[in-house]
Amino acid sequence: MAIPEWLRRLREPGVDAEKDAALWAKCPSCGEMLYRKDLEANLSVCTKCTYHFRMHAYDRINMLVDGDFVEIGTEMLPGDPLGWVDKRPYPAKLESDRKKSNLSEAVVTGFATLDGFPVALGVMDFNFRGGTMGTVVGERIAHLLEEAHRRRLPCIVFTASGGARMEEGMLALMQMAKTTLAVERFMADGNLYMTVLTDPTTGGVSASFAFQSDIIMAESHASIGFAGRRVIEQTLRQKLPDNFQTAEFLLEKGAIDMVVPRHELRETIVRVLDYAVDRKRTMPALKAVPEFAT
């Protein structure tokens, strides 16, 4: 996947657009000033304290796939079914997020190979509307699962979400049902479905396709939960412990299979594919994707 240098630069993670030109980024965890090139070379992991900066979907895809990534679902773009206006109209918010993130929605879906394993891949991005799930996120995830199903490919989804997207009201909530149905149909036929929970994974995404998978990995330090931390603190009027809702905390509580540092993510996923997937079966399947037919 060839991403132009200017575009790559636009999408530096964890940084406001204004500071984009700056050469340095400050680690929000340890305060260290990090040289951007170093940070980027280190997969956006702080070289001092291993804080994991949020990653742009395409950067993550680049980090994972062997070579080509064939994106699907890009023809589906968000509408404004409720005619939503708060401080700004919803379409204006979408427009500015599009510019800020260079994404058309909060999830990118498509096909690729990982160490030779053909997979269907979905990657959510917090930069677009806080990774919230509106109709298009639901559609693209369901579409991805259906296309993977047709080809009998394993499906891997990276989640990052603030929950259901308020600006699409109940149509957004219903995407929990839609994605659940797609996941179940996909899995019922014996296909591998794996999720990687990245920072943050909460609300309606957490309570649907994030936690319905065969294998649930979480990226180190990711915050994961149903209710937001602030909601709980406000309800209970008490401060929560620092590790509450972290990936590490969830591992102890038995909610997830593994916590994986970003640097080991690709190889760990490949190992799981190697255990659970019959390479002989999936290899010819990807040929059904025109771009992979060569």
């Binding site: 996947m1 060839a2 991403i3 575009l7 890009t74 023809e75 589906m76 773009l77 968000p78 509408g79 079914p81 409720l82 939503w84 206006v85 708060d86 401080k87 260079n102 994404l103 058309s104 298009v136 559609e139 259901a164 997207r165 308020m166 699409e168 009201g169 109940m170 149509l171 909530l173 219903m174 995407q175 929990m176 049902a177 839609k178 659940t180 149905l181 996941v183 179940e184 149909r185 309606g204 957490s206 309570a207 649907s208 396709f209 994030a210 936690f211 319905q212 939960g225 149903f226 209710a227 909601v231 709980i232 309800t235 209970l236 929560l240 509450f244 809702q245 509580k253 038995g254 909610a255």
Partner: protein
């Protein structure tokens, strides 16, 4: 403060009391009583004839609004089943075998309390992971024995406490949804009060979704929404306008299949009558679903939710060009 409860005070209560008094004195049918009754109806219509979304939210939360157990009392029979088999029985989610209009079903509902003491025991109808796991277990039981599933939705949302997070609330709701996606039997869900977000949907991924006229079903609470949008939960009324959470709105979106009209002034003004018409509606919907073969039923469920949503379509060329 509930705006509907407030509005019920004053003139309406006074008038109601006077009518009661006359009736008690055996003056039924007298012209004096008839005039008062006419006045009462007119006042009801003035006060409740046109409810805003926010007023409906308050109606849905009305302390006298019938709860799941009021509906259950009108069933032929109910045998409650308890527990997630692992950790706890959650009183906020009741479930079990039931007989409704002669039909054997599995029943599931969020149960608010009808007084403070019961509300505390029932956690105000906010379900914990154990409750959703009980629901999942009973859904699978229903599917195993071919019993239709009838659910009543009435919750401000899933329990947001520390223990619920520690016991994987997300996983519990996700698993409950997945169970409904899989069951081989008809599922009819009815929103009878407040349908709060994922915690409500967890038992409402249904073949038919019915809504009581004044109930609400929302992606977020109006208060929560207002707090996020304007940092001011007092602007909940404005948020309610925007969220499109009324039965009419949701029928328009294809999210709700049937609306059951409420008595003027809300379901609690004639609870037995209203409950009967909800149960009639459920009965009719079950009759329409019950002879469909499982595969067909599951396919229809898939297509029903697969369709919900609204988005723009761009030609693939255009879309591809816009993205790397």
């Amino acid at each position: 403060m509930n705006v509907i409860v407030e509005r019920e005070k004053g003139p309406l209560t006074e008038l109601g009391d006077r009518i009661e008094t006359l009736r008690a004195r055996g003056m039924g049918g007298s012209s004096e009583l008839e005039i008062l009754e006419e006045k009462y109806r007119a006042l009801l219509s003035d006060l409740f004839g046109h409810l805003t979304p926010w007023e409906r939210v308050n109606m849905a939360r009305h302390p006298k609004r019938p709860t799941a157990s009021d509906y259950l009392a009108a069933f032929d029979r109910f045998d409650e089943l308890h527990g997630d088999r692992h950790f706890r029985d959650d009183p906020a989610l009741i479930g079990g075998f039931a007989k409704l209009r002669g039909r054997r079903i599995v029943f599931l509902a969020q149960q608010r309390g009808r007084d403070t003491k019961e509300n505390i025991r029932r956690n105000f109808g906010m379900v914990s992971p154990e409750g959703y796991r009980k629901a999942k277990r009973l859904m699978e039981l229903a599917s195993r024995f071919g019993l239709p599933i009838v659910t009543l939705v009435d919750t401000s949302g899933a329990d947001p406490g520390i223990a619920s997070e520690e016991h994987a609330q997300s996983e519990a709701i996700a698993a409950c949804l997945a169970a409904l996606a899989k069951v081989n039997v008809p599922v009819v869900a009815t929103i009878i009060g407040e349908g709060g977000s994922g915690g409500a949907l967890a038992i409402a991924l249904a073949d038919t979704v019915i809504m009581a006229e004044n109930s609400v079903y929302s992606v977020a609470s109006p208060e929560g929404c207002a707090a996020i949008l304007w940092g001011d939960s007092a602007r909940a009324s404005e948020a309610a306008d925007r969220l499109k959470l009324t039965s009419d709105d949701l029928a328009g979106f294809g999210i709700v299949d049937r609306i059951v009209a409420e008595p003027l002034g809300g379901a609690h003004r004639d609870a037995p009558g209203f409950i009967a018409s909800v149960l009639d509606t459920i009965d009719a919907e079950l009759r329409a679903l019950e002879h469909r073969p499982p595969v067909e039923l599951r396919d229809a469920r898939y297509r029903k939710f697969r369709r919900i949503g609204a988005w723009e379509t761009q030609s693939r060329e255009h879309a591809t060009a816009a993205l790397p």
